[in-house]
């Protein structure tokens, strides 16, 4: 099932009058199918974060369409966008961005609370998720009282609890040591497999990207290449490195 269809989106920064404009994205088109785990890679300044922001409806494309459930999100008003973000999109951020003033539980249910979901509903969805991700015992603790792994899982719960159509992850392993990074990637894979969640992850870490099922490479605002994971993980890893060395990305 098709979740998202991007048609010819471009993003231009700056004003055209002064000739200072800068084209961050150029006519990008692609589709996302239910259950995909897509990595977006590219060098710094290639436009991958811009793409993620546009998909997450935090930013608007200059031209082009983003179609979800048959509607063009680029045409939504500000408030429609907020509702759309709440219902359809889950975010996992670099620092998890759990609010330190709230317990893990409050953090997780926040999107539902903002949406005005009924308490029974909230509690039901919460209990299934936290049992599965193993943070039931630390729910009433504050983020700084629990381990990094538990924070990660809480952030994942927050992204999952609204049962979003797509989960967007922005450099999720960027700030982590290799062990925690690996844990997070396992977690994402688990979510992808068990919940059939669709994940789009921006990264420039080759190791992280090797967990994806498909990788889109972006260069100078355009899709440069696509790679699909085969059965051989080592081979997939090597081919990512090959592409990246051409693109000028970095490697761990």
């Amino acid at each position: 099932m098709q979740i998202l269809k991007v048609e010819n989106i471009s993003k231009i920064y700056g004003s055209s009058k002064r000739d200072k404009e800068y084209m961050a994205l150029k006519n990008i088109s692609f589709e996302v199918i239910q259950g995909e785990f897509i990595g977006v890679m590219g060098a710094s300044g290639s436009g991958k974060t811009t793409l993620l922001n546009i998909l997450g409806s935090i930013d608007k494309p200059t031209t082009g369409k983003i179609i979800m459930e048959g509607k063009d999100i680029a045409k939504y008003s500000k408030n429609q966008l907020s509702t759309h973000r709440m219902k359809n999109i889950g975010f996992i951020f670099q620092d998890y961005n759990l609010l330190e003033t709230m317990t893990l539980k409050e953090n997780i249910i926040l999107p539902l609370a903002l949406h005005g979901t009924k308490i029974n509903d909230i509690e039901n969805r919460l209990s299934v998720l936290v049992k599965d991700l193993g943070i039931l015992n630390v729910l009433d603790k504050y983020p700084y009282e629990v381990s990094g792994g538990e924070q990660q899982r809480a952030a994942a719960c927050r992204a999952l609890i609204t049962q979003p159509k797509i989960i967007l992850a922005d450099e999720p392993t960027g700030n982590l040591d290799s062990k925690s990074g690996k844990d997070l990637l396992h977690l994402l894979t688990y979510i992808n497999d068990e919940y059939n969640a669709t994940i789009l992850m921006v990264t420039h870490d080759v190791f992280a990207a090797s967990y994806c099922k498909k990788i889109m490479f972006i260069r100078d605002g355009e899709i440069y290449n696509e790679l699909h994971a085969g059965n051989d993980k080592k081979q997939f890893f090597d081919s990512i490195i090959d592409v990246m060395s051409v693109l000028g990305g970095e490697e761990r």
């Binding site: 935090i58 500000k78 709440m86 951020f93 609010l99 330190e100 409050e106 926040l110 005005g116």
Partner: protein, 655 residues
């Protein structure tokens, strides 16, 4: 770029926050300068009867204001510096030493401070004529409205020295705050809890018991108990308030959290968690505001009520425009009448009533070691007719009496319920007559030299007079003679007449009072209190409101990343607005509401102690409540302005 340029640039970039400092400092400089200049002002000193007391009161309140201003400026400044943590850490990152950063911040404070010092003194000088005129017209009766412009160098000099030392202290404590910053904090978002008070049931219950107990004691109707209990009441309510804000309010929040239906609405969730997270850093400020606003409002409302009632009070206390008695020579009356005709003042009412005394037998009255009656006391005694004549002529609200044969009404000077209960049960034992006390009433002016007075039925009176039980002279043969009472035109305006009367009566009369003197003393006292109260409350409102402002700005800086996250997970603009409102409103509203609640009870106490007892007046509680609601109206107004400014700034910061 040297430090001065950098400081100027910083002020320009942070102009809104500095303006907040500027206003609250300017107003406090203005107030302190005005007080000091008024203390020095010769014209004002000459106008006051008790000029020593006047200077002392004004100076004392000036010192209180100064201490208050110092405390609030230093904590505002510290919050301001914390709000600029990011900026300051950046300087540090680029290799500026803490000392130099401290110097930079100090320079900024000094620049803003000196500007407001100059402005405040300038405004003070500009308005000095007006403030002097206001002070004189509320305190001095015969104020002509002409005041010389007076620039007082000593006041300028003192104000400058005091404020510059306050600025230096601000600089030092700012340096201390900066020294505690860790450079790492720049790279870490505020992850640690600043100390969310968890609160406890025990503290909540203790605080409610303390406050409730204080309220219970305060609503007692017995003024003597209240005088004894004043300090315990204050201790109970103040400690209860602080405990409530430290341990009780966090518990209330956690109880609110249990109502999941409400709590799990996005807006409430955001507002309650971040408010309870800030609890510890702001609870003391909120408690202080609640206590101080209650104290200030009660004091000022009481002062205003007294001031607005001086004229009525005066006549309830002394009865007539003039009375005198026990003259050494008989020529006084003539002399007094001459003075009136010399001043061309018409006497509207005049009476001469002989003063009698009596020594009935009754048991000694003693309560807890204090003697209220024994054989050394005597009564001033009136027949019903003489009493009613005196009362009808008086300008007080006291009603005439009708007394049955064998009964008497006992008058005392002040309302002492416990003593009055006992007096009511007494029988006055005259040699051939027993007279029952039928009532005990309060009157302040009919005693003319004695402690107690009696009013008897006309027949009983003439019988006892015949029997020599009622006499004119005391045991050594000295009599009080007659009392002469007068009412005349423009009694409260004519200063020259009053001073002439004083001259004659001071030397010759055994006892005398003029309404004018009484009135002018009362005006001087209560007018001064009201004048000071007005300035104090102005400084107080501005200082507390701006401290809350700076505390919230600091919080906004630290909560900024919350809103970034929240927007990403789908919080829309309207929800954000509502969340901020719910986040900030309690900070301003809770202390104010608790202050109002406190002062409703405090006002009741003031009413019992002052108005029902010392200076009885009708509808006093309502009047005090009216003045205090005006005060709270003003508080509410200023606070809501600050609330909206804070909200605007908060929203700008988190954008």
């Amino acid at each position: 770029m040297n430090l001065l340029d950098l400081a100027l640039r910083n002020i320009k970039n942070n102009i809104k926050k500095h303006i907040m400092f500027f206003f609250s400092m300017t107003f406090s400089v203005f107030t302190v300068y005005t007080f000091l200049a008024l203390v020095q002002n010769q014209q004002v000193n000459d106008a006051f009867i008790y000029d020593g007391r006047y200077r002392a009161v004004l100076l004392a309140f000036g010192v209180i204001i100064m201490v208050f201003v110092m405390f609030f400026l230093i904590s505002s400044n510290n919050s301001f510096i914390k709000a600029r943590k990011r900026e300051i850490s950046t300087y540090s990152l680029f290799g500026m030493s803490h000392g130099r950063i401290g110097k930079l911040i100090f320079l900024e404070t000094l620049l803003v401070g000196l500007t407001s010092l100059a402005t405040g003194i300038g405004v003070g000088i500009f308005f000095s004529k007006l403030t002097t005129m206001i002070l004189l017209s509320v305190t001095v009766i015969s104020f002509s409205g002409d005041v010389a412009l007076d620039i007082d160098l000593k006041a300028i000099y003192l104000t400058a020295i005091m404020f510059i030392s306050v600025f230096s202290m601000m600089g030092l404590s700012g340096l201390w705050v900066i020294n505690r910053f860790q450079l790492v904090d720049l790279f870490k978002a505020e992850k640690r809890s600043e100390g969310k008070g968890k609160g406890s049931y025990i503290l909540l219950i203790i605080s409610l018991i303390l406050i409730g107990w204080g309220y219970y004691l305060a609503s007692s109707n017995n003024p003597y108990n209240l005088v004894m209990m004043a300090i315990p009441i204050l201790v109970l309510v103040i400690s209860g308030t602080y405990i409530f804000f430290w341990g009780g309010l966090p518990k209330v929040l956690s109880i609110l959290k249990r109502n999941k239906r409400k709590y799990y609405r996005g807006v409430n969730l955001i507002a309650i968690t971040s408010f309870s997270h800030r609890m510890r850093s702001i609870s003391s400020v909120m408690a202080t505001i609640a206590v101080l606003s209650a104290v200030a409002t009660t004091a000022i409302a009481t002062g205003f009520t007294l001031y607005s009632n001086i004229e009525n009070n005066g006549y309830d206390t002394i009865g007539y425009d003039l009375f005198f008695y026990a003259g050494e020579d008989d020529g006084i009356l003539q002399e007094v009448e001459e003075i009136f005709s010399r001043h061309d003042v018409e006497i509207t009412q005049q009476a001469q009533v002989p003063l009698y005394r009596t020594y009935p037998k009754l048991e000694a009255i003693e309560i807890e070691g204090v003697t209220f009656y024994n054989e050394e006391y005597y009564f001033r005694v009136y027949s019903q007719t003489a009493y009613n004549e005196l009362v009808n002529m008086s300008k007080s609200k006291i009603a005439p009496l009708e007394i049955a044969s064998g009964k008497a009404v006992w008058f005392i000077r002040a309302d002492v319920p416990r003593v009055m209960e006992i007096m009511k049960e007494q029988t006055l034992d005259f040699t051939d007559l027993n007279i029952e006390v039928s009532d005990v009433l309060v009157n302040t002016f009919l005693h003319f030299g004695s402690i107690y007075s009696l009013v008897l039925n006309d027949e009983d009176f003439s019988h006892l007079l015949l029997e020599n039980q009622i006499v004119k002279e005391d045991k050594v043969g000295r009599g009080a003679g007659e009392v002469n009472v007068f009412n005349f035109n423009n009694a409260l305006q004519n200063a020259e007449l009053n001073s002439d009367l004083n001259k004659v009566l001071y030397q010759n009369a055994g006892g005398y009072r003029t309404a004018y003197s009484h009135y002018s003393e009362a005006r001087e006292t209560f007018g001064l209190i009201s004048f000071i109260g007005f300035f104090m409350s102005g400084v107080f409102i501005l200082m507390t409101a701006s401290l809350l402002y700076f505390k919230q700005i600091m919080a906004a800086e630290e909560e900024r990343h919350h809103y970034k996250t929240l927007r990403k997970i789908g919080m829309d603009y309207i929800t954000e607005k509502r969340a901020i409102t719910r986040r900030l409103l309690p900070v301003f509203a809770i202390p104010l509401l608790i202050g109002i609640l406190h002062s409703i009870f405090a006002m009741k106490t003031a009413d019992t102690m002052v108005f029902s007892h010392l200076m009885p007046m009708g509808n006093s509680y309502r009047k005090v409540l009216f003045f205090s609601s005006m005060m709270y109206g003003a508080y509410g107004f200023v606070y809501s302005i600050f609330y909206f400014i804070t909200k605007g700034q908060y929203r700008k910061i988190i954008r």
